[in-house]
Amino acid sequence: MKKLMLAVGVLLVAAAPAAAQDAARGERLVEERGCTACHGPRGVSPVPLMPSLAGQQPDFITLQMILFREGLRQVPAMMEPARGLTDAQIQDIAAYFAALPSAPKPDRGPRNEALAQRGAQLSAARNCNACHLPDYSGRANVPRVNHQREDFLAHTLAEYRDNLRVGADTQMNGLMHGLTNDDIRAIAHYLAHRE
């Protein structure tokens, strides 16, 4: 079990910089740590299964980065990138990605009307938009899910269902309960094609 020493004096220093979040500092960290190799230049991911981060809710990014750093959301690819980041650095990174324009991946593929309809019905039945908002842009710790990569959405929703993804609470795990892989594919298609 790792330990972390946080003397009071250290915290005072860390809190000293006047501006809270700083997207420019965040951009430098993103470059240093090579986040774009997986999450795409300017946060729109061209890589299968890698989530886009452009326009994502900053509170969501912050929370997830802390879950990665603390080893609670266990994704091997994210262990190195998150290692040792301070809260302030994480908030800077979140500010950087949040400020980038959200956009679907360029080669999104055509919309399958029947599949999208089915996804829309399933989402309506579970009131997904009550938390993610009607346009699915999210709020605070609830992520933006429109424009997201379809393959990532399908993958991560199945992980919630199978209790393989640990979030800040069990809400998403419960919401996915009982959905089949086909249901999830439909929801992912619907969300990925929302503007």
């Binding site: 790792k2 009071v8 915290l11 860390a14 929370l63 809260d87 399933l122 009550a130 710790n141 795990n173």
Partner: protein
């Protein structure tokens, strides 16, 4: 560590084949079972947890109000998610959390408090107890014991007691409170893995006790939906516990409650009755009149966490053995309720009264909150520590004549 969630009895149902299931009603997630159709589109959802360090100048000490003669100061900060607190014989204060998975140690050097992270990466380490120099940590089903913890703050070597206790790994309402009773046994609360459901009453909706090694399990209180705080009366030794009423039954129903467990194994009403509220979602086989009434009704959705008898003598006479309750505050209510520490005192004739003690966290005009009190602890000098989960801070309340 990957946690396996077990989400309610409904979740145990076998996944149906795809087409059949598309027509079947969706199994609601644990936290929204019992939600009526007219609330289906409610935007209410649990508040986002804050896991980042709040800089001291942004901690709302100056907002906090206490009764005349008391004063509040910031005692420690930089402990995101701080909840329950226990104190070792050598003065280290240990602090549990939920989402961030850490246990902190706070040492008072006189002029400042030094915060270190003792353990991390645990699934919701919400329960801490201390005895004979050993710190006991409960994290859903996991139980760890750190022997001679105050001598090993830099290098704790936890003994894994998980198998000996055999607790359920259902995450929902699995964030237990633990404490040693006057009988030397280790008490655990265990909530229900749902919002409202008929559940296995031998495993859930109860407070149970064990020998410190995990043997000889005994059910102490039944019919307890979700207790996240309890304590033993300093004089009578009785178990007093707070309990969270269920969600989605309206803004004002049911109330959260305070109970005293007078007989071992006593049933306190879940799922049929909560604080006098006969739950319409449960086929009504048992009436409220069959259960002992709560010692006190605390208010709807206020979310009592820290439940602690004041053991000092520095506060005025009326606070001797008074019960402090930290109401962490509501989410399933259109207007905020709770977000304050109250005190429950006995007055003439043994009657109980409750009074606000520490307020100012809730901003009614703007319907927002600036902090969430969670844990309460008496210090040897008779001052009271109160943790603030949202700001990762600990306040010290003292009295000056």
């Amino acid at each position: 560590m990957i946690r396996r969630h077990l989400l309610g009895l409904a979740a145990a149902a076998v996944a149906a084949p795809s087409l059949a299931f598309a027509q079947a009603p969706a199994a609601p997630p644990a936290w929204q079972q019992g939600r009526p159709a007219e609330m289906a589109n409610s935007p209410l959802a649990p508040h986002a947890p804050r896991l980042t360090v709040t800089p001291p100048d942004r901690i709302p000490v100056s907002n906090i109000r206490v009764p005349d003669g008391f004063q509040v100061e910031l005692w420690a900060h930089g402990l995101p998610g701080a909840r329950v607190m226990v104190r070792g014989d050598n003065g280290t204060v240990f602090v549990g959390t939920r989402v961030i998975g850490r246990v902190y140690a706070v040492r008072d050097t006189g002029s400042e408090r030094q915060v270190t992270t003792l353990l991390q990466g645990l699934p919701q380490p919400s329960g801490l107890a201390i005895r004979d120099g050993a710190l006991y940590v409960s994290a859903i089903h996991r139980v760890l014991r750190v022997d001679n913890v105050e001598q090993n703050l830099a290098n704790p070597q936890p003994v894994d007691m998980t198998a000996a206790f055999g607790l359920s790994d259902a995450a929902h309402h699995g964030w237990t409170h633990i404490q040693f009773g006057p009988d030397g046994r280790l008490y655990f609360s265990r909530g229900v893995p749902c919002n409202i459901c008929e559940t296995d009453g031998e495993r859930y909706a109860l407070i149970h006790s064990f020998n410190a090694d995990g043997s000889d399990r005994r059910i102490e209180a039944r019919g307890v939906r979700n207790s996240v705080g309890f304590d033993f009366h300093p004089r009578t030794g009785h178990l007093w516990f707070t309990n969270h009423g269920r969600d989605w039954a309206g803004n004002d129903n049911p109330s959260d409650t305070l109970h005293v467990n007078l007989r071992r194994g006593e049933h306190h009403g879940f799922p049929w009755c909560a604080g006098g509220f006969q739950d319409p979602a449960v086929p009504s086989q048992r009436l409220c009149s069959e259960f002992p009434p709560p010692a006190m009704v605390l208010g709807p959705h206020v979310a009592p966490i820290g439940t602690h008898f004041y053991r000092g003598s520095a506060f005025p006479e009326q606070y001797r053995n008074a019960l402090f309750i930290a109401n962490r505050g509501s989410w399933n209510r259109s207007r905020l309720a709770g977000f304050e520490v109250i005190v429950v005192r006995e007055v003439e004739g043994g009657r109980l009264v409750q009074e606000p003690f520490m307020t100012g966290f809730r901003d009614d005009a703007n319907q927002r909150f600036v902090g969430r009190p969670a844990g309460v602890l008496t210090m040897p000098d008779g001052s009271l520590l109160v943790s603030d989960e949202d700001n990762g801070a600990i306040y010290r309340v003292s009295y000056r004549r």
